[in-house]
């Protein structure tokens, strides 16, 4: 029973749940079994959140585990580090190049990690300027879809499956900008490689 595990992490409100939903539907469209596990409720008020998507011929557990995530997609640099123990040896880190201060940091009770970017680069992370790419694509809120585009370059679903899923699932007025955001994230990774 071998399934691919993608852990999406970030800060409540950043859109991890929508990104996970789009990923799962792309996997489903590719004929795979899939599970998406979300956390709702209190953590969504700006807390640390994780959403797990697992897909393959047959998927049993819906959660990730130490050393089991094939890919971590982090919407924020500190949250990528917080979840690093979940990463499989040889797994990929796709990280939005943005640091969001948590309340203990804002109030001076704690510090952000001093070398988060360097540490992530040391782990082989792909740092994605998602907000800039989303803005250039025409919708500053589409950072999550930029990251999905970046992730798509690490998976072998056909581009058409992604595009079909995005077109069906995002609000009609934002389809064009979201498709552009997806393409920008994907191109960014393919050009880096």
């Amino acid at each position: 029973m071998s399934a691919t595990t993608v852990l999406l992490c970030g800060v409540g409100g950043q859109g991890t749940i929508l990104a996970a939903d789009l990923l799962a539907r792309a996997a489903l469209a590719a004929g795979l079994d899939v599970k998406v596990s979300e956390i709702h409720g209190m953590a969504q008020r700006g807390g640390a959140v994780t959403t797990v998507v697992r897909f393959g011929d047959e998927v049993a557990s819906m959660v990730s585990d130490l050393g089991c995530a094939d890919i971590i997609v982090s919407f924020e640099t500190t949250e990528a580090l917080r979840n690093q123990a979940q990463l499989k040896a040889g797994g990929s880190l796709v990280v939005n190049d943005e640091a969001i201060k948590s309340l203990p940091v804002l109030t001076g009770k704690a510090q952000m990690p001093a070398r988060a970017r360097e540490d992530l680069v040391g782990l082989g992370a792909l740092l994605i300027p998602a907000e800039r790419l989303a803005r250039e694509a025409g919708n500053v809120k589409a950072s999550n879809v930029v990251l999905l585009g970046a992730l798509s370059a690490r998976l072998d679903f056909p581009v058409s499956a992604w595009e079909d899923t995005i077109s069906r699932r995002v609000p009609p007025k934002t389809v064009e900008a979201n498709l552009a955001a997806f393409a920008a994230g994907r191109a960014f990774v393919l050009n880096e490689a």
């Binding site: 700006g46 557990s61 499989k88």
Partner: protein, 576 residues
């Protein structure tokens, strides 16, 4: 093939079974079930004031002949326990299915109680789906069983079933002919003369159910190659299947009553028998009571919190794959009240007052976290008002800090109202703050009696909150704008200084997520002295520079509420 969450699948199952009525009070992780049900064709769904009311409305509709679904989180079952236990005497008319959604790991709850114990204690059959396809099928089938055995059926889910999306094949809606109603006091009037014979009926039914669970197709054995056998149910089954592919597994789809014969046969078929379950000993003790030997794990399985395949493997002494160490040098990221949240200043002012604050269940429980750190207690729905009365009783006749209860509008409607009636009746004192943000915010902005919004957007009425409180006999009732610092401060000071009186302050302003109105953001000018007062509000939009101490406002997060500007003595926070 559709991709549905467990909650969506339960709603679909109820719909396919021909259920026409849905009743609930929102609570994570159950909430979307009834919202989803309410969007379907040919159904009526409503938010009730609490879970007890929901189950009673549901039982009435069932008695009248309809198929009914009622949904709640695990702690909601506590509230609904009273009708639940006696519904297991009366039985049903149309089929009745009750969802109990547990929260092992306490992602959004005050405890991690196991609803299986309710099924056992109330003698209500319970089914445990392990994914969305099962959630649909079990719920759909449970309606028929409810009618066949004349008892409500419970579906038990957890966060990882309710909030996990998996592929589901959906079906058509069955035609259901409502059961004709006939007056039957010996079945429905549970006074001693009728309840005693119904208790006998219940005991006979339990025997029928025990026979049924031995044969029903929901308890499934998967034979493995190894010597280990595991009994499990629900999400834990998925972790076991992942962690121990060699093990034989008895997956229980019905978790009360337990299939004692099947359990014994399974135990005999394996060399070593284990029970894997989350944050509970329900199954292990139930299996042991069948007279089989349940092994202790070679290593420990956590007794609290959620399980994962890795934790199951670790309990059998299997190592985790190679992985990076967890970082212990990262700042925490607790949830926080949103920028512009109307609750913020109330908590700030309560901290200034050095009040003892009895809190309640909702977004505003976040007022307990630093830097506001304004809350002394939070136990259950409505407890703020009654616990405040208890504090006042214990400290009667002594000089003491002001005691203030803080409760949201929806929670007040759920059970704060009956607490307040009790305080008034017993001539209690103190201050009750009702944070009326016009919605049930934490669970996703549902309707409630005080905002007059109903689940299916049917026309309703807004209950007059201050009118209700005055009608109880509270004389000092005031409505205050919670964004106005001076008004909040004055109201709290006046209310708490009238030591022998009971005051109710209604802080009324809509939840920021309800209106999504943004005014121009504020900014910090060069006049900032770095005093740090604004950061004591705990607004995610305000940062304090670690070296200079000066403040800055994130224009992307600020919604222009202006709360912080009122606290700046140097007029350094200005609208842009």
């Amino acid at each position: 093939m559709e991709l549905l969450s467990g909650n969506e699948a339960i709603a679909q199952g109820a719909w396919e079974a021909g259920a026409t009525i849905g009743v609930a009070y929102p609570g994570t992780p159950s909430t979307e079930t009834l919202e989803c049900f309410g969007r379907k064709e040919g159904v009526y769904a409503e938010w009730c004031t609490n879970e007890k009311v929901a189950v009673e409305v549901g039982l009435g509709a069932s008695a009248a002949g309809a198929r009914v679904i009622s949904t709640m989180k695990h702690v909601g079952v506590n509230v609904a326990a009273d009708p639940l236990f006696t519904a297991a005497y009366t039985g049903v008319g149309g089929g009745m299915v009750i969802l109990a959604a547990d929260d092992p790991g306490m992602y959004s709850s005050q405890n991690e109680q196991d609803s299986h114990y309710y099924a056992q204690a109330a003698h209500v059959p319970m089914m445990d789906p392990a994914d969305s396809a099962e959630a649909l099928a079990f719920t759909r089938d449970a309606f028929e069983f409810s009618e066949r055995f004349d008892v409500p059926f419970m579906i038990r889910s957890s966060v990882r079933v309710s909030h996990t999306k998996t592929p589901v094949e959906v079906g058509e809606r069955a035609a259901f002919e409502p059961k004709p109603y006939e007056k039957a006091p010996q079945k429905w009037v549970m006074m001693p003369a009728f309840a005693k014979p119904r208790r006998k009926v219940q005991l006979e039914r339990i025997e029928d159910l025990r026979a049924w669970v031995e044969e029903c197709p929901y308890n499934v054995v998967t034979k493995g190659a190894g010597k280990v056998g595991v009994i499990c149910a629900g999400a834990a089954y998925q972790h076991v299947a992942e962690a121990l592919p060699e093990a034989s597994v008895l997956k229980l789809g019905v978790t009360w009553p337990l299939p004692a014969g099947k359990i014994r046969a399974f135990a005999e078929s394996v060399e070593e028998l284990y029970v894997v379950e989350e944050a509970s000993e329900y199954l292990a003790s139930g299996v042991a009571a069948c007279g089989v030997d349940v092994r202790a794990f070679p290593r420990e399985l956590p007794r609290d919190g959620e399980l994962s395949p890795g934790l199951v493997r670790a309990a059998f002494g299997l190592e985790a794959p190679e992985h990076l160490p967890a970082r212990d040098d990262l700042p925490g990221r607790p949830p926080a009240l949103c920028p512009g949240c109307p609750h913020r200043l109330v908590f700030k002012e309560l901290t200034r007052l050095r009040a003892v604050v009895t809190g309640d269940i909702g977004c505003y429980t976040l007022g307990a976290l630093p830097p506001l750190a304004a809350m002394d207690t939070c136990v259950d729905m409505g407890a703020s008002v009654s616990m405040a009365h208890g504090f006042e009783l214990a400290w009667a006749g002594e000089e003491h800090r002001p005691v203030v209860a803080v409760i949201g509008d929806s929670t007040f409607g759920h059970s704060g109202l009956s607490s307040l009636i009790s305080t008034v009746y017993n001539c209690g004192s103190g201050t009750v703050c009702i944070l009326d943000n016009r919605t049930t915010a934490m669970t996703g902005r549902q309707g409630n009696p005080f905002n007059g919004v109903t689940l299916q957007q049917r026309p309703s009425r807004e209950l007059d909150l201050e009118g209700v409180v005055r009608a109880l006999g509270v004389e000092d009732v005031r409505v205050v704008d919670p964004h106005d610092m001076a008004a909040v401060r004055t109201a709290l000071k006046e209310a708490t200084s009238a030591a022998d009186e009971l005051s109710v302050l209604i802080f009324r302003a809509p939840c920021v997520l309800l209106e999504r109105k943004r005014r121009p953001p504020y900014a910090v000018s060069a006049a900032c002295t770095g005093c740090g007062v604004c950061t004591t509000l705990g607004c995610p939009a305000i940062a304090r520079d670690a070296e200079t101490g000066t403040a800055s406002i994130d224009a992307g997060l600020c919604i222009g509420c202006g709360q912080c500007a009122q606290y700046c003595r140097f007029d350094a926070i200005v609208a842009e």
